[in-house]
Subunit: 399 residues, 2 copies
């Protein structure tokens, strides 16, 4: 296996295909911000601005500037997006809307706390890139706002009746594990460590089910199983994504035991979520094998596969566990055969169970400039680290 | 074509398969109400009670009692459901919740006005069956509550920001066209006629697009087109269903011109929504051919096909338009080859684009004892009327 050649494949797709695609097609110089609803060829098919995707694109170009190359074009692209969002993105209390018109008028109220999560992530990366304290302050203020809303993230838009069935969701603790690392030095070290402690405990002890080897999307407040549609729900991609967040934390804490646990969970979820009939990873499953509520349960989504590749490579880098490499080869093959569009560039996002393109878009309400470039970057860099490690004598490093 | 044989097929499926399936499997004698989450064999796989489906089952058994046979078992089944809902189903202001636990504790707040629509429909049929004035009063009170909430049906759970983009939806005016006929004598005749006038105008002049020959799901408050995800959305099944509501109104008003318009629209929508590649009617489309937001857009749903069969048969009965019969044969063939489960009875609800079973359930969060039995009843009776008409000399009736 030539790890360097593979690393180059991920790097080249990132730098020569995906990033140019978004630079070329998603700019909105007249209004600022990004147009993310792009058809197969990259043409804009809708002009609404979804806040998750605005911030994710700001994050992406700032991250590339910080980590790959200090290209002015990338920084300018990120800054104009951030200025648009600073001006239009939030209500007076600093809660970020869910969507806006092309001009920046609010469309959907700030009912969704992940808008704030991606805002904090984006402003933090941009602070690193620019040194502009205003972005740093916005990142910290938004992060604190997330913590204050943590116990009731939907606020007055919560539709469940108080007290009857209170469940906690996996998404927020999972994202917080990644977000604290993203914010880095902007946060007081005690807050970072306590947030990590809490997040790790939630992911590894509360939502991870030891008996089943998988992660549930929703559990009761006391951590117990809820035999309901929400309680039975498994989103394999979510669990798989969270495992590389955990590995990053474990690396920071030099905790090889935690990495080994994350690798075992990665392999378990993947064996569970892999579609034995048509290949690829299923989108939603019911842990008791009952019919899931989600009609899209059997579809194959780009982000699920991309996030899985990251976890497998990080797991392999840290542990040299052969299961990681074998699964990486299998998921890599499926992913590259099905998602990238050889004709018009970038990746398809939504395939049906058979792996045929279900929606030909490159960007929409949920798919933007985020999972593909972040995943390509992470896989590229992790493959480089694996290549480096493998040129050294095995006895020294892996045994 | 032997219309009587076809009528028998619909009747037999209703009385010997579908109704026994729900009587046998959906009872919850301990708590009252119905268990609607039933797997392929009819076994309960979830016990939550979804308010739409509770009222739709009450309506169904009351309707059969009123129109098919005064079976005490059917009436008892409806009454116990209604008593459960009377006790547990609404808040103090008479707004019906969206869902409840098996025991009747509220789970999801009354954010959804269609819970109230199905409540009014159910209480009205049950009033007809029992003469119990309490049910009649509940039907009227709920109907008035719907009218008072009509301009802001989601109330405080509305997530769109006020003033930026105000759209009106097709579902409510469409259902009101059916609901007023269901309530019949319970309403003052002036209110019935003015509600019909308003609903007909909304359906035929505002949401129906003359230039395209189809119906949009959402338009601006002034009726104009909104080039947005919501504005471009087409739900062919909704449009097709609404056309038999319009034909029923046209029959009541002895308006053959309106029937002919409804037939033309039925045929147009069906030609538009029919999947030329795999057969069946698509679930969602984008009127400009852009990628729809709904990942389930290409699936084939039971209710879409059932409602279409009703509109085609009513159209054929009233106009003898050959297009109605030709399409009926095509949709009938697709429907009976794909949806009924020959092994365990009742109908599958959700097929993938290829017509393969996507979810093996017979009932869930959205599918209950409603579209299949209502459709079987309507088709049975309309085929009987067609059979009667055809035994008379053609010269007298059709020329």
């Amino acid at each position: 296996m030539n790890y360097t050649l593979l690393a180059n494949q991920y790097r080249d797709n990132l730098l020569n295909d995906v990033i140019p695609f978004w630079l070329k097609n998603s700019a909105d110089p007249e209004n600022g911000g990004f147009l993310t609803c792009l058809d197969r060829e990259g043409k804009v098919f809708d002009t609404d601005k979804f806040v998750w995707l605005q911030f994710r694109e700001i994050w992406c170009f700032s991250m590339l500037y910080n980590k790959v190359e200090q290209k002015q074009e990338w920084l300018d692209f990120a800054v104009q997006g951030a200025e648009f969002m600073k001006k239009h993105g939030s209500d007076a209390e600093g809660n970020f809307y869910f969507s806006m018109t092309r001009q920046g008028e609010p469309l959907i109220q700030p009912y969704n706390i992940f808008s704030d999560c991606f805002a904090a992530m984006a402003f933090a990366q941009l602070f690193k890139a620019t040194g502009n304290q205003e972005y740093g302050d916005l990142a910290v203020r938004t992060f604190n706002n997330i913590l204050s809303k943590r116990d009731n993230p939907k606020g007055k838009w919560l539709k469940s009746y108080p007290g009857t069935r209170e469940l906690q969701g996996f998404s927020l603790p999972m994202i917080l594990c990644n977000l604290v690392l993203e914010l880095g030095d902007l946060l007081d070290n005690d807050l970072t460590e306590s947030t990590i402690d809490h997040g790790l405990n939630q992911v590894m002890e509360v939502f991870y089910q030891k008996d089943l080897g998988i992660i549930l999307e929703n559990v009761r407040l006391d951590g117990s199983f809820s035999d309901t549609f929400d309680g039975r729900l498994v989103n394999p991609g979510h669990g798989l994504e969270s495992m590389w967040f955990v590995m990053d934390i474990a690396e920071r804490r030099s905790d090889p035991g935690l990495i080994r646990r994350a690798v075992d969970i990665t392999i378990n979820i993947l064996e569970y979520g892999w579609d034995k009939e048509f290949g690829g990873i299923l989108y939603f499953m019911d842990v008791k094998g009952k019919p899931p509520q989600q009609l899209e349960w059997d579809q194959k989504l780009w982000w699920v596969h991309m996030e899985t590749l990251i976890s497998l490579l990080k797991g392999y880098y840290h542990t040299h566990d052969q299961r990681c490499w074998d699964w990486f080869e299998k998921v890599h093959k499926y992913t590259w055969e099905h998602f990238p569009d050889p004709e018009h560039g970038e990746w398809f996002g939504y395939l049906n169970r058979r792996g045929e393109v279900l929606l030909p878009l490159k960007g929409g309400k949920w798919k933007g400039c985020f999972h593909v470039p972040r995943g390509l970057y992470q896989c590229w860099k992790t493959l480089e680290r694996i290549a480096e490690k493998n040129q050294e004598p095995r006895t020294k490093n892996q045994e």
